[in-house]
Symmetry: C2
Subunit: 694 residues, 2 copies
């Protein structure tokens, strides 16, 4: 085994220790008044109850798939370790989400309490809480990768080097399927829960009863706060675990085809370790004075992120030069990936921030009512797909050709894969800037319900807004790397099929490929249809429940009686669990069916169609949703009549439509695409054997 490999478990342990340190930091802060503790406790219990139920259901799915995979492996159509790798990927992905969520629910009251003192204190708690999630995701990923690498390296110790690497990587790539499946369930289930509660609470509370957001009289208010934790935090954790692991294992698999040997295989893991250390340094750089303004805080956050990225860019140069001296072009591929990620981040900010024309045009459209708000938002979202698609196109082209793809296509594809690793290497800190947003949001809810002075709420809102700005870069990396990783997985699928000695006719005009493209392009729509409908239906149940409580519980509106919060949490839980099954299963079943009916070439078409169309739809959904949200906030700041005006009501409709777009359907699409790819890879041997038509 290459000596540098041992950096990976070291990086993993470092990352987890740092997460522990950050967690201890947050514990030093006080949870505040009795009421604040009580509220935090209610949210915590709701979130744990949901997660328990979610994981029990997912465990059934994993159990069934495990048995099926085991049967397939016992029939020699899969390496025997695959079913276990599948389970471990799912387990660690779920664990990442769980730890991140526990930390977040433990930190909301603390953040609110710190916000009573200053903006900077609140940031310290929330950012540390976000950091716990970031470093846990990275640490657990690297632990899982290291363990499997060590085990498989030992198991195949008697094989010649080339064959050994081949066996290791083709088993490890299958463990992406477990991570993706867990992530999809978490995103879809959590996404349905959070948006059903949010939409339901807003529709009756804000729109009908005219009470403010997070008002404790609203029976869905706890569910709404629980939702932020199970959707935005636990879902995000599982999701990014999947992205991170996915990008690394896809690169490892392609290293073999590119003939880069063990050096090529360990390079993504080494780069990830470099990223851990850079992220830790970056985190320490997020420091300001106690009386810092919002601008100073923004500068501090940006300093942290940028320093980490620059360190990675510089150190990777030496790593690649040392490990792959003859293929230094790969370094340019890494830079191309980083560049496109930064560009996507800027583009996202341009389309969704109220500082720029697109979001303001939505606010402006509110003057003619909700219909024009919707139309303008969809128009903005659709247009916003162009710059990221072009950025990814340029990144693919640059990564492929700069790594030498013109003469050696496999090397080019390895370049594409590793550019995604570069983008995700600083996940520790970029995820921290993303994940602290929901913590701040929850702190705001806590402050509102605990009737803290208005300035506290203002500080948590400022924190939340700050998070939206800094998170843009991290989101750009997550989006860009998802597209590149998915492409790498398609290439890996192709290699896998070739290993079985099967020839593929991948020309677009080959009817199975074309049909695959058609069905693939349709998949994101069928999937989003399910998830959006689920949110609508679950929100409808909440609306009915909240209306019922307003009507039946006497003295509720005067604050003399308490609503039945638990009932709303329960309704969301049941609905989310019930509705997440069909869309998640689609991702696994469709590639198998297409493969059996139309052969592996059609599967490649399917994956490519789902990738290009799903990527675009995901961008549209995320950006429409973000722009509607901020267009509403822009009006709330006083533009176009301000809060309560006709314009504001129209903008709230846009925001409500955008909620499931940006927090349920949109973010699940990237996982959908990757789960389709990883399932296809895992089951390639099985599908080939069953195929009616090759």
């Amino acid at each position: 085994m290459h000596l540098l490999f041992w950096l990976t478990p070291i990086g993993a342990v470092l990352s987890l220790l740092f997460a522990l340190y950050l967690s201890r930091t947050t514990k030093k802060f006080d949870e505040g008044t009795e009421l604040m503790r009580e509220i935090a406790q209610a949210v915590r219990e709701g979130a744990k109850a949901y997660i328990k139920r979610q994981y029990s259901m997912v465990a059934i799915f994993f159990g069934i798939v495990f048995v099926l995979l085991l049967i397939i492996s016992l029939n020699k159509m899969l390496p025997i370790f695959v079913p276990f790798a599948f389970i471990s990927g799912g387990f660690f992905s779920g664990l990442s989400g769980f730890i991140g969520m526990t930390q977040a629910t433990d930190s909301s009251a603390r953040t609110a309490n710190a916000a009573r003192k200053s903006l900077n204190s609140a940031l310290r708690v929330a950012f540390a809480a976000g950091g716990v999630m970031g470093f846990v995701v990275v640490g657990l990923s690297l632990i899982d990768l290291s363990i499997w690498f060590i085990i498989l390296n030992w198991v195949y110790r008697n094989l010649p080097e080339a064959q050994k690497i081949q066996h290791i990587t083709s088993t490890m790539i299958c463990f992406g399927m477990g991570a993706s499946a867990q992530a999809l369930f978490a995103r879809v289930g959590g996404g349905i829960f959070t948006k059903a509660a949010d939409v339901g609470a807003d529709l009756v509370g804000k729109v009908e009863a005219g009470i403010p957001e997070d008002d404790p009289r609203n029976p869905a208010v706890i569910a709404d706060n629980v939702g932020d934790n199970v959707g935005d935090v636990a879902g995000m954790g599982a999701d990014l675990y999947e992205s991170y692991v996915g990008s690394i294992i896809a690169t490892m698999a392609l290293a073999v085809a590119a003939g880069l040997g063990i050096q090529g295989v360990i390079i993504p893991m080494v780069m990830a370790t470099v990223g851990v250390i850079s992220s830790i340094i970056g985190t320490f750089l997020v420091q300001t004075k106690e009386d810092a303004t919002q601008v100073a805080l923004l500068t501090a956050l940006r300093r942290g992120i940028w320093s980490a990225s620059i360190i990675v860019a510089v150190v990777s140069l030496f790593v690649i030069r040392y490990l792959l001296p003859h293929n230094f072009g790969i370094y340019w591929a890494v830079l191309a990936g980083l560049g496109s990620g930064v560009f996507i981040g800027f583009s996202t900010e341009f389309f969704t921030s109220d500082h720029y024309k697109p979001t303001r045009s939505i606010s402006d459209a509110s003057r003619t009512g909700p219909a024009t708000v919707i139309l303008q938002g969809i128009s903005v979202g659709m247009l916003s797909t162009a710059p990221p698609v072009l950025a990814v196109a340029v990144a693919i082209l640059a990564a492929f050709y700069l790594s030498g793809g013109a003469s050696h296509p496999e090397l080019g594809l390895f370049g594409v894969a590793i550019s995604a690793v570069g983008m995700l290497s600083t996940l520790g800190i970029t995820l921290a800037t993303d994940a602290y947003g929901p913590v701040a949001d929850n702190a705001g809810g806590n402050a509102q319900m605990a009737k803290l002075p208005e300035e506290v709420r203002k500080r948590t809102d400022a924190l939340d807004a700050l998070g939206n700005t800094t998170a843009a870069t991290g989101k750009g990396f997550a989006i860009g790397s998802a597209a590149l990783t998915a492409l790498a997985l398609i290439a890996a699928y192709q290699d896998q099929i070739r290993l079985f000695g099967e020839k593929l006719d991948l020309r677009i005009v080959n009817p199975p490929v074309m049909i695959g493209l058609f069905i693939g392009a349709m998949m994101p729509f069928a999937f989003c249809s399910q998830t959006i409908k689920a949110v609508g239906q679950a929100a409808g149940l909440i609306v009915v429940e909240v209306r019922r409580q307003f009507k039946e519980i006497k003295g509720l509106m005067d604050g003399k009686a308490k609503p039945d919060y638990a009932r709303a949490v329960h309704i969301c839980t049941v609905a989310a669990q019930h509705q997440m099954i069909v869309p998640s299963l689609m991702a696994v079943i469709v590639p198998i069916v297409v493969g059996i009916l139309l052969g592996p070439s059609a599967v490649v078409g399917l994956l490519a169609g789902a990738l290009v169309c799903g990527f675009t739809v995901a961008l549209m959904m995320a950006n429409s949703g973000g722009a509607w949200d901020n267009a509403k906030k822009y009006i709330e700041k006083g533009a176009f009549g301000g809060k309560g005006s006709f314009e504001h009501k129209a903008a709230v409709v846009g925001d409500t439509v955008g909620d499931p777009f940006k927090d349920t359907a949109g973010p699940s699409l990237n996982i959908l695409i990757k789960l389709m790819s990883t399932s296809s890879i895992t089951l390639a041997g099985f599908v080939l054997k069953m195929a009616l038509f090759k």
Copy 2:
């Protein structure tokens, strides 16, 4: 020249004579009261004014492109006839729209007047008016095709047979570019006009002022009626001219590559002629008693459509057996196409009719307000993409393999192309059932403004509803054939590139192809973004104008003063003209830029990405829009509180959002895809020469 070719000009003349006969039939009906004539005259003038302006602008575009093409041909990068073929395609497409629209504006008052007598009389006028459009489109297409075929056959008379056919078809396929460009301008410009007027009129009139639709006090009411004619009629005429011609020329071009010789080349034209005769017979079968009920009329219409289709199916059997005795499998391809068209029609009806669950679920969502109406509508629209995509997938597979594509792929692609011809062959009658809808709609507007008794309006509404039902089959054929034709055009592009001796690497994993796919998938979104924004902005201008007139013109609301209708028409005209340019140019410029920068393989990726993603988005937009419209109508019939209720207001928001979806952005997408393909084919030689990277 093959004797059977001469059926084509005969069919063309027959079709045009029959259109003349139908037009004469409508002239026998009276235009009604003075007021009715006056209103019809105002609409007619508005429509003519718009079309004049539209065609002047388009003429500039055609002039510029003509000169560019001429320069390119003089440099030997194109056959010298291509610029002229381009102009003729555009001219006849525009002429089809113009004649159809003139007939429609001449028939609205007549239909309204006939509706004073009976439902059946009104149907006779409106259906005859729709038939004029149907048979004019078919007749002009076949005239244009015949003339060019005769000319080119004479020009190349000295070449050996095989080479002659090659030259003829590769010139003729370029004339699709002219037809597509004209159709795109007509659909986009007309679509922006009609929906800006409609949305603008509704937002102030119905929602703010609370006056009914088509109320003469609304200053935008004439513009709204003009819009139906320039968008739904003229736009649809140009569009279907393009589809019809496109499917025939694509098939002709592929016949050469498939080695089917002159028999293969003329077969689509002969089948079209068979379709003309079947459609005429079918039209005569649309007969009922004077006091017929709505159900009896529906039966009569269906009898007409189905008889025509069955005649085509039977006669094609003999035509194919006679012309291509060794390739009878092609007949099964035709049947596969017809089958999938019928299936798509049913699927469309299922998702957009208020008899079924999807549309009713949208009405139901109105109970929780506009946001849930939007979410449910989008969810329904997204799900509705699945059955048509699967139907097209099955049709491609069946058409390809049944025609012998397994051993001879070119023959399989010819089969795919001809299945689209089969679907469109009965366009004469299916377009009649589609085009009479707007006539009935306008008749309703006329009746409302002319203050005719309410039962007249009820009859025109019934007619309109009837049209929506029967049009489903025609729409299914139009949608399905667009996908198949676009695929055939991609294959034709590939052949064109091969003629230049260039080799293509069309494997999906080839980076230029993948990048083409990405950009192609993004194109429909960028395009829809432009058109939706245009409608929103133009509607905003109308809203401001209508509000101004309500405020400034004294006595308007009491009916004592007349609004300034012409001003609203003018605003829509200017806005539509202004806004149609960028999206239309995109379709021509993007393939050229991609071709020059990334080479022809990337262009194939681009076209395939635009096809699969555009097809899906178009389905979603059309069906969401249709379902919102009918969900609103369902509530107006009395469900969920009926007209004026909270639920109704929510449903109106859905309908307003759906308007540009289903009548502007959605229908333009099919043309966008084909214009991208035809421009790529036409400019293949030029792009190859300029390409930086092959």
